[in-house]
Symmetry: C2
Subunit: 416 residues, 2 copies
Amino acid sequence: MDETVLAMAREAKSASRRLSSIPESTLNAALEAMAVALTNSQELLLLENAKDLKAGKERGMSSALLDRLTLTPARICGMVEGLRQVATLPFPVGEVISEADRPNGLHISRVRVPIGVIGIIYESRPNVTVDSAALCIKSGNAVILRGGSEAIHSNVALAEIISKAGEGVGLPTGAIQLIRSTDREAAKSLMQAEGLVDLLIPRGGEALKKTILENARVPVLTSLGGNCHTYIDASADVKMAADIAFNAKVSRPSVCNAMETLLVHKEVAAALLPVLVKWLIEAKVEVRGCDRVREICPEAIAATERDWETEYLDLILAIRVVDSLDEAIQHIQDYGTGHSEAIVTASDENATMFIAAIDAACVYVNASTRFTDGFEFGLGAEVGISTQKLHARGPIGLRELTTYKYIVTGTGQIRA
Amino acid sequence: MDETVLAMAREAKSASRRLSSIPESTLNAALEAMAVALTNSQELLLLENAKDLKAGKERGMSSALLDRLTLTPARICGMVEGLRQVATLPFPVGEVISEADRPNGLHISRVRVPIGVIGIIYESRPNVTVDSAALCIKSGNAVILRGGSEAIHSNVALAEIISKAGEGVGLPTGAIQLIRSTDREAAKSLMQAEGLVDLLIPRGGEALKKTILENARVPVLTSLGGNCHTYIDASADVKMAADIAFNAKVSRPSVCNAMETLLVHKEVAAALLPVLVKWLIEAKVEVRGCDRVREICPEAIAATERDWETEYLDLILAIRVVDSLDEAIQHIQDYGTGHSEAIVTASDENATMFIAAIDAACVYVNASTRFTDGFEFGLGAEVGISTQKLHARGPIGLRELTTYKYIVTGTGQIRA
């Protein structure tokens, strides 16, 4: 174990104990102080970021990755706005979720409290440093950040600025910390700091999540991938179906709520597929279809079993014609990852059956799966999406960064 | 992996998909059918139980364990009553936890759904077979039971009777299953059935829980022990403090919500301790105290660091005199396991400080920690207590055996 990381985790645990009873006004003041400090530190940030960019270029980083890594005055401004937006979000801590007076006179309430210490392991984009810290602090948690080595100079500068600004207006020491070591051992220590780190959230690609799930000994909240489906029912409006399918695939193919496989009822295939597939191919989507798709659209490549299993995260779409709603449901049960699944239908009955049968974080009727997102759901910012069934499913916003405790007040009650 | 167990888990997963849309009336009818079937199977149950008792005696099982293992007509009656009580509990599935109309016209609701397949691993008392199955079924989950080898004949008989009775009135095949193999490999396969078992709940001693936490690859919900404290504040009513402390230790020392360490403010020690310690010793409690306790009560044995760490689950109590509320909070933060912690005080201010500072599933003011229990909290029956911070804290009742999904309905919305 990396002793520096363990010492950080102990300091974070200590900070979290003080954070749990700090009022919302102090937390909001800290977010505002961070916003001001970032605004005033543009020059330093751009200088530190330039070091990362130089190193990235020297290592032959792709221009797409270099772009993700780049800070600009506009992007710094975006982080500042993000901080101020989080400050306006409703404060989740202290909410009385339920309460009851028991026959013996005990008053029992269930009250929302921070989780404690949250570890965030992420890649590439330096803005995640600020976004993650903001959400953890606003929910009363201490946070330990571990960014990618490619952004280490930017991340260290960002974390120092916001941590110092927060402490200046009353955040406890250690409320926001960033791991400076880029060693794997340091990350592993964070994953295994049992009793100190209460929750670990990975923000990044599937490889990062897999490493964390394999190594973590502390609780993890994450998505296990988004092999998302859209099923076009026999009764679907063809225009609506094409719009939704196109949007679900093309609007941002690299994200987890993008559609990967389209299922089409045989009765609507001939009307829908020629138009839709042409449109997709024009948008540079590689279309892979089952035999029945290829009868209608010979331009589609033959899909294999492998295609039904794959989360492409790219401009590739698998299409399958099915005989029935039941077959579509069965396909989704067999291949889905429980992220976001949609039906397009004019039948309330079929919509109800689909909703009941599909076991996923988000089930859609007549809308694009691309809406699975904290902002779109009205939660404000999110630190990711959960496909787990325990604790939180779907977007992980402020409420999902809390737990609860029972508070029982009496007048001397003892148990018989 | 044990192929029989994996096949059971696959059947349970399939059953869980059908269970998720079975109406409450069918689930209640199944519980009633189980109650009737158990009532009509008394003779068989007593015969099978006699086999377990005979084997237990031959292996030299203690009379206490033999008693826990014994079925009697009255105990069968208790299980039958338990089934009928669970049928009367509010149905958690389908509850709309929250809903909202978004500016783009999407209607987003968060709806309570079953978790899926729940594994229960337990020891000794055969009634756990019936209680656990009842709670899982009433919350729409499929259940795989794994009891102790010492009760295998009783458990197999109980599970067969209730499973057959349930299927007779509409439960899907595989909704209630019991692992017949008493091999460790079988239990381990249940713990590692990733993607099939959605949640594993151990019901038994700390050794069982430890084994499960070390081996499980599926999510586990459990208590990590109950090193529970009661702190007697300077302002406490001495009579109330003595009553609460005595009850928290003596009423049932073997359970996780029993007090293990008593913390006493120095200003109230001289008034409280002589009376309380005498009373405890009369009740056969071994009292271990710090030096300041032993100055007042020389009959106390000297406590060591080890005592503050120990969950005795026995008629032993550690007592420590502290200088302040802060010192008491620090002690609980250092040694507590986040289960149930109490303050006895006449000061609202100190009660508030204690509640805010103590990070535990249940925090008590002027009441015995022994109330941490599903029935006492008004949740009805429970399958245990959670000291975890994710998903559920405190008693695990029907609501804690559910998760939620987002249901998003639109009219063709696509994301910009």
